[in-house]
């Protein structure tokens, strides 16, 4: 039983071996580091919850190939990202830029807080100028 269990564990652990492009893309350590950094930041457009680093779908491997080509042509990381965004939109980036609609998403919590704060402040200040509720018993006590 435990052997079977061990076997299953080995299979699961070994699964990552099936990932493609296991070899290094670049001889140069710095280039390889940049390459890995970029492909970990790019969303696979077909399998949308994976980076192209983790996906073995054909389109991901095509995109990796294009990225390798661009890097070996001496393009900067920013230029590589621009290349991808031009073709597939901000969606390919796991960290989309803070502009346009995504900017709205970023500032929305602040806006809500500000709006709620203003409403709360107005309600509270209104309450403070209102006379306190006094019940009838107390009034009788004061009168007597």
């Amino acid at each position: 039983m435990s052997r079977l269990f061990l076997g299953v564990i080995c299979l699961l652990v070994g699964w990552s071996v099936w990932a493609i492009d296991t070899g290094r893309a670049f001889e140069d350590d710095e280039m390889q580091a940049r390459y890995v950094e970029i492909i970990s930041e790019v969303r696979c457009v077909q399998c949308q919850n994976q980076t192209i680093k983790d996906s073995n779908v054909q389109i991901a491997s095509d995109l990796r190939r294009e990225i390798r080509r661009l890097l070996s042509e001496g393009k900067t990381n920013a230029q590589v990202f621009e290349f991808l965004v031009q073709r597939y939109g901000d969606f390919v980036l796991y960290r989309p830029p803070m502009s346009g609609f995504s900017l709205l998403l970023w500032i929305a919590p602040g806006l809500f807080l500000l709006f709620g704060g203003i409403v709360a402040a107005r309600v509270i200040s209104k309450r403070m100028t209102m006379p306190l509720d006094v019940d009838d018993d107390e009034i009788h006590q004061v009168e007597s």
Binding site: V45, Q48, I59, D62, E66, Y88
Partner: protein
């Protein structure tokens, strides 16, 4: 009065956002093309049927055209093929194919068996053109205007519904414009 109107408007807006967000018709996996309204990316490919000739954007220079990315491994392409054949007979808009990430032999066989709706097909074996056009899953169909701009992009098999509701009005508008 204001006390009721303001929250009501805010509530209405939120409901609107949720209805849009939860619309079952909306497919969140479909990405809008960043090329809409912009010039279609340049391509220059060997032709599928005539490998020593090339085809590029110039093939449809100055006319409204359809560019359809297809492949023999693609189920949706087989699904839309009959409709493309019908369009090639009934519509004046030329259809250009780009055989995407495919092999030449089965592609030629496909066209001879199922019919060839394309004026011409480019052969994009290593997906260089596909990536330049932002293609991520065949079939994808682009409508190109006379000035070479992308007017529409349709993901998935081209249906009669999409053709009548999206393509025909866009084609009519594009044909109306003087080049």
């Amino acid at each position: 009065m204001l006390k009721f109107v303001v929250p009501l408007i805010a509530f209405g807006l939120l409901v609107g956002v949720f209805i849009k967000g939860l619309d079952p018709e909306r497919d969140i996996k479909k990405l809008p093309s960043p090329f809409l309204g912009k010039e279609a990316p340049h391509f220059d490919l060997p032709r599928l049927k005539v490998p020593n000739e090339r085809i590029s954007n110039q093939a449809y220079d100055g006319e409204v055209a359809i560019v359809n990315f297809w492949a023999t491994w693609c189920v949706g392409c087989r699904q839309e093929h009959g409709f493309l054949m019908e369009l090639s007979r009934t519509s004046d808009v030329p259809i250009y194919g780009i055989d995407w990430r495919d092999q030449r032999e089965p592609a030629l066989q496909w066209l001879s068996q199922l019919g060839d709706p394309y004026v011409a097909s480019g052969f994009d074996a290593d997906s260089v053109t596909g990536i330049n056009w932002g293609v991520y899953g065949a079939p994808e169909t682009f409508l190109i205007g006379k000035d070479g701009r992308v007017l529409l992009k349709h993901l998935g098999p081209l249906s009669r519904d999409a053709w009548e509701n999206d393509f025909l009005p866009a084609i009519a508008a594009a044909e109306g414009d003087q080049p």
